[in-house]
Amino acid sequence: MKMGFGPYVLAAWLFFIGLYGIVTSRNLFHLILCISILQSSSYVLLLGIGYRTGAVAPVFSDIPVNTPAVDPIVQALVLTDIVIEVTVLALLLTLAVQIHKRHGTLDPDKLSAIRG
């Protein structure tokens, strides 16, 4: 049995559904969580790219160095990406809270300070 393209298709689906959520959102908090779904698409994609069937995690504390292991680089990239995601989300969340303070709503349809 083989993995095939399963993770890739999942990544593509998360990409699509995340964007769908952002576009149709009626609440900025909802929108921000949809961005985080969008981001997780890249985790799945990267992990899929770096996976090797039957290989171990790239930690060699208890196993010989020449054991086949999965790709450590994509894992490092995903780690970096997770940190970036959570910090950018914090910034977005702050902006959303400030919007609520100034506009009294979180509904993007009701924000009207900029137009034209």
Partner: protein, 605 residues
């Protein structure tokens, strides 16, 4: 010889951390001096890097991990004159912004300077890096600082909304860049740009097209190409003036820089047999950007938003410069980046002075009020004319190089697109100056309907004098904009740097094998540009005609402007698209990426 390459990034970042600590104990004035000194130091280092890299590419491996068996293990900075030049431009504008803000914000802690320094470090890293994922990291760092700076004036309604629109669209853009990089990694097993380029070689398949689409679209969001440009006007209209200077002056251009860099190092060989398809896609994108940007610029009355759309129209010209895929046109783009960067920054400073002195930036409300600000008015008008393509300015030379390259390829009609873009954005500024400073035109109740923006004040009250630290940077930048266009050496250096920039083989060899190839050669015969001064003067005359027609149209056309209602209807449709709604913006973005990718697939596949 001290190792300079990491310093433009490392020094501002370190100083940012130090300033946070200093800010806990000291007054604002104590923060400003080290901040300015740091930015000046970075400018000097970048200038040295420009000179040094003209003797051959500088490759610097972080952590000392040079390639083993021709496999790049670590992250490299690969510095060529164009990259170092971008970093220099960034740091120069940061210096100017710091000086301008000396008297600008009334209440500001150390956080403004901290974020500006991080922004500077990120922009330098973005310009110098030779690694795809590192490019993404600096892209995000740049964005994080920019989001916060953009929403600086949280007390008003518009800034928080503009900052959110900016943050959401650019986060989506960054995600696309990352996805594209992941695809490239899956395809080639490399993250170093040179290595990816070498692994791809001349093979092109569907994964490569999709990866190219995602990476390019992500950077084009930052570069504000239509239809990815919506965030730009919102962000510029609301961000504090010194921040706008950086957004318009360099950040947007850095997006295009990344597109160009990645194209030439990674994709140019794979796409070499499809260059004409790629060219038509970029031409379409550039023309659309020119026209939408120019039109939207001309209908604005909020001067910062006007300047923002003018940036969009000039980005269109730059996309044309890149999209022709010739050295001459790329040189034109580089010239345009420098010229536009200087002029647009000066214009933003001027708008900041107007806001500082008069407490407003709306053209209609300001009518005639600016007559006291003679110096500012002169600089403002000069800047507007420079945008229209007035001869000695860098923008004129840039436009002309792109036109010449287009004519060489049998696309002489592109000149008219560039002229329309330049004239519309230049005329908008001149109209603003004419109305606000010279009191031209008549009182119009429902004239051109501009954007509706509720921005807060940036300084406490109306002031009676324009401080030297505010007028100075604007005047100096305008002068630099002229100098960039006048200097023959500068033009020759740009031409030579562009040749280095497009030399894919030399880049890959320098990075992976440590080969030292010096392909920087000043061209013997320099393109003669001033013989074509009449083109620029023609554009300027056109701009003046347009301004007069607009301001005095009720006198000139008693029975209404012929065809006016059609134009007005079209423009109103366009304006309605700029709805300030983040969901709309992301929808446009998705549409844009789909069309862009689909077009590439159809034309290349």
């Amino acid at each position: 010889m001290p190792p300079l390459p990491p310093l433009p990034v490392v020094v501002p970042l370190l100083m940012a951390a130090v300033l946070v600590a200093l800010g806990l104990f000291f007054e604002r004035r104590v923060i400003e001096i080290p901040a300015i000194v740091t930015a000046l130091g970075v400018t000097a280092i970048c200038l040295i890097l420009v000179v040094r890299s003209s003797h051959g590419l500088i490759v610097y491996w972080f952590g000392g991990w040079a390639p083993i068996d021709h496999i790049a293990l670590g992250i490299s900075f690969v510095i060529d004159p164009i990259g170092a030049g971008m970093a220099t431009l960034c740091s120069l504008l940061v210096v100017a912004a710091f000086i301008f803000s000396l008297k600008y914000f009334d209440a500001v802690g150390s956080l403004f300077h901290v974020l500006m320094l991080v922004f500077l470090g990120a922009m330098c890293g973005f310009s110098l890096t030779g690694d795809a994922f590192n490019l993404f990291v600096f892209f995000e760092l740049m964005s994080a600082a920019a989001f916060a700076l953009c929403g600086y004036k949280t007390e008003a309604r518009a800034p928080v909304q503009g900052a959110l629109n900016f943050a959401v669209t650019n986060t989506v853009g960054a995600f696309m860049v990352l996805t594209g990089i992941a695809l490239l990694y899956g395809r080639t097993g490399a993250l170093n740009l040179a290595q990816i380029g070498q692994a791809l070689g001349s093979q092109m398949d569907r994964t490569v097209i999709v990866a190219f689409t995602l990476v390019t679209a992500g950077f084009l969001i930052k570069a504000a190409a239509v239809p990815f440009h919506f965030w730009l006007a919102d962000a510029h209209a609301v961000a504090p003036t010194p921040v706008c200077v950086l957004f318009s002056g360099v950040m947007v251009e850095l997006g295009l820089y990344a597109v160009a860099r990645i194209y030439w190092v990674v994709f140019s060989s794979a796409f070499s047999s499809h260059a004409s398809a790629l060219r038509s896609v970029f031409m379409g994108l550039g023309i659309l950007t020119c026209l939408v940007g120019g039109t939207m610029c001309y209908v604005q009355t909020h001067v910062k938003r006007m300047l923002a759309f003018s940036t969009v129209s000039h980005v269109g010209v730059m996309i044309l410069g890149f999209g022709l895929l010739t050295p001459l046109a790329l040189g034109g783009m580089a010239m345009e980046v420098v010229g536009h960067g200087m002029v647009k920054s000066a214009l933003f400073f001027c708008s900041g002075i107007v806001l500082h002195r008069l407490g407003d930036v709306d053209e209609m409300r300001l009518r005639g009020l600016g007559s006291r600000l003679t110096g500012t008015g002169v600089v403002f008008a000069l800047g507007g004319l420079a945008l229209a393509g007035l001869p000695p300015f860098g923008t004129f030379v840039g436009d002309l190089l792109i036109e010449q390259s287009a004519r060489g390829m049998g696309l002489a009609w592109l000149r008219w697109i560039i002229i329309v873009a330049a004239v519309l954005s230049g005329a908008a500024i001149v109209r603003f100056v004419a109305r606000a400073f010279w009191g031209w035109g008549y009182y119009e109740k429902e004239a051109v309907k501009g954007a509706k923006i509720e921005t807060g004040q940036e300084t406490e009250k109306s002031h009676f004098r324009s401080p030297m630290v505010m007028v100075g940077p604007a005047a100096i930048l305008i002068a630099l904009g002229i100098a960039a266009g006048v200097s023959r050496q500068f033009l020759a250096a740009i031409e030579a740097s562009v040749n280095v920039f497009q030399n894919r083989q030399a880049y890959i060899a320098a990075v992976l094998s440590g080969a030292h190839i010096n392909s920087f050669q000043l061209p013997a015969a320099q393109p003669r540009v001033f013989g074509y001064a009449f083109v620029g003067l023609f554009a300027v005359a056109l701009a003046f005609v347009l301004v007069v027609l607009t301001l005095f149209r009720s006198q000139l056309f008693e029975s209404g402007v012929p065809g006016g209602s059609v134009v007005r209807h079209g423009v109103e449709c366009l304006q309605r698209c700029h709805s300030g709604h983040v969901g709309d913006y992301v929808t446009w973005l998705v549409i844009g990426v789909t069309i862009f990718g689909g077009a590439l697939l159809i034309l290349m596949g």
